[in-house]
Symmetry: C2
Amino acid sequence: MTYKNINIGESELEIMKVLWKAGEPVNTQYISEAVEDKGWKRTTISTFLVRLVEKGALSVEKRGKLYYYSPLISQKEYRKSQTKNLIMSLYNGSIKDFAVSLFDEQTLSDNDIKELKAIFEDKEV
Amino acid sequence: MTYKNINIGESELEIMKVLWKAGEPVNTQYISEAVEDKGWKRTTISTFLVRLVEKGALSVEKRGKLYYYSPLISQKEYRKSQTKNLIMSLYNGSIKDFAVSLFDEQTLSDNDIKELKAIFEDKEV
DNA sequence: ATTTTATGACTACGGATGTAGAATATAGGT
DNA sequence: ACCTATATTCTACATCCGTAGTCATAAAAT
């Protein structure tokens, strides 16, 4: 539990996702290919990497002449902290209000609801 | 459904919360008192108000010599859009993954879970 | 050895946000 | 009519984020 509330921007997050998915240290080339669809310039990606390292979201290691990056924050941790933030800031910390709102109107499809019911009903307390 | 994805900053959100809670147009003085605990200077609050109006998050109306503000975005709408954003960006849009993660580890207390079960079990599809 | 290519470092710049000081307007009291 | 307290506008500034250009360096290709 060493997670300090690090802010990760939207674009930076895309980089994190690549790293989380990779599951092992990868180099810039790998990352560049993985985010090709974003159309970012090479230097843009570099900037994101530098900033993520500065923020403590990634670690970097030089192997030969290339840098390899790995996440210092797990996707799980990050998801959890972001979800918590949302519930705290928008629902005064009430999970219940939050769940109620999830049901509201078109937020969920019938199928979503089915799935959720299944999940919750299985849950033992 | 006129909600365009307006970005509201963290501090600005505090102002919105006051307005949502108030439920009727209120003036700057009212707002100032409501956010006293934040320790913001008067001009800071003014700036937030001006920006929120510019963004289309608030409407403003002059009554006599004072300005009265009211939200143009409902709390419900805003919550919904933010929740959706979170699920889209962190869980690839999968409500299911999201719910599963909610259960993960210490995110929920036993009581939270009880409440949620109750809510979900009541839900008809 | 010289040229091209890949990689990384440094610098920049505009917009958003948090924050507030200075200047101005306005109303109310005297 | 003048002073004072309060409200509003304008301007400013630092930080973060998205984005990228330029320069340097090193390796690979010719």
